[in-house]
Amino acid sequence: MEVVIFACQQAVPEPEALRNLWDRGEVRLRVLAEPCSSKVEAFQLLRTLATSVDLVWVIGCEERLCRYDEGSHRAGGRMAYTKRYLQEIGLEPARVGRSVLTPGDQAALAAIVAEIDKRLQSLGPSPLRQAPNAAARRSVP
């Protein structure tokens, strides 16, 4: 299984710390550092989920601490939109998730990792993996 985390660089200054917290070797974790969680657009979340990824997560700052003032707020709106969209097309909205934390809060980060792990265990592999054209979709560059 595979998890992709889009992490705001203010909220998670060291993506390596996030990787180190992840102890499930059988699940591939990819952490992509972003300048702000609002960099990640809804289409990016959906297209990521359409690959071989089982869970997509966005980590941002608390709204009052966002460097771009409105960035975290907008990221929340996009997440809600993405969930609604997934529900509308008959997929599990829980395949995408979002957490906010105070920058540098290691305990909160560990709690987020635990939450991601728990969510992944409850969801299992993405149904898109078993879709008939999944192999072809994965091979498209």
Binding site: V4, E34, K39
Partner: protein
Amino acid sequence: MPAKYHIHVRRVPPRFSPVAKSTIIDWGEGCLRCTRCVKEQCPVDAYRKRGFDRSQFVDTIDEICRDCYRCVQGCPRELIFKAANPQFGQVGDEYWTPEILAATWYQAETGKIPVSGAGYGGPFAGPGFDSFWTDMSEIVRPTRDGIHGREYISTSIDLGRKPMFLTFDDQGELEWTPPPLLELPLPILLAQPSLGANPGRMQEIIVQAAHSLGTLAILARDRLVPVPAETTGRIMPSYTAGSLNLDDPLLSQVRALEILDHPQVLEQVEALKKRYPELIVSIKVPADGQVVCRVAELTAAGAEIIHIYASEQARGLGDCQDQHLKDLIRRCHLRLVEDQLRDTVTLLVSGGIALAEHVAKAIICGADAIIVDLPLLLALECRLCRQCAQNGPCPVEIDKLTVKRGAQRQINLMGAWNNQLLEILGAMGMREVRRLRGEVGRAMFIEDLEKEIFAPLFAQREGEALKREPT
């Protein structure tokens, strides 16, 4: 006059989106729906062409964007921003910086010299190769027809032992056969990097590139994969101390080989030369504390080529880790000049040669040619994540790259480097790279300049007391 040496570059687009230096943050939710949106006025049409890279999960808009800031400035509700891309800062390391990687990717894709645009915002001096400048005093006007229109500037070098004099018999014939020489059209040899997924494929790519460029590919003999017969002559097999077998069939098919230095290396070279007199032998010497003495010793004993290898960060090895490769080359060169043997031997250097300017600077310090390794891997879109060293998956699937595509990207990189070398030589008023060797008069060392400029300002005047005496 011989035909001009020309490297045929051809654009090879990347298979994966290169990591962009900056990124666009687009808050489309608050859009006013202007009649003419700034996104439609993008000069490179980035908003229409943008896509999604499925392997890296990134929006490809940053790859297309040319940082003109037209959209950022033009949006009436200020919904578009540009920010530094944190993913860019994570590629490479302290020496192989993201900027070096990005410049290498660009050159491998286009074969063109990277131009940074208006103004230079970076520092003018730094450690290592950045501690001296090349003297471009011969630039008097922009050339009308570029580097290819000038009088021919030769980048050829000779590999092998050069006799200091010739002797002739009564009939005017040479009394002895001069040692073999191999002329290369550019002062760069290719070598296999220590990293890389699918090393066998990498060897094929490097040999193919060396064949097209007319240079040699240094490859470890014990890991050599079969290559097309017409390219075998471009291989320079590298042997470790005990692995050389005189019955190796490859020895009769190649022009040169390399042996790692060891106490009996000279005896080994002698036996080899007795059986294969036309072979040119290079001795690979570590750039450690003994390098200067060892280079002088081997040269005096008749070595043809000496390859000095340093660390990946252009630092010395062993007890010389605090010294930069340029200083070690310079010391070896000056020692050979002192011994009046410099012209007899070919000095090759490797380790930390990351940019085109490093080629010229290593030659200025005293090398005849350089050996490039890691940039050949970077040319194949490598992110230098070093996962391949732990048998991890390659994020840019170098193992699946075709030989043709990979070789052309390496040829493009060497084409761009060669053009930059020609620019440097042209700006120095030189027509031959052979003349650049050890030519420190064509370089300005920051340390010397600082002494020259600031020392007189702060020096104590003769006879002047340190403190003013009380009146």
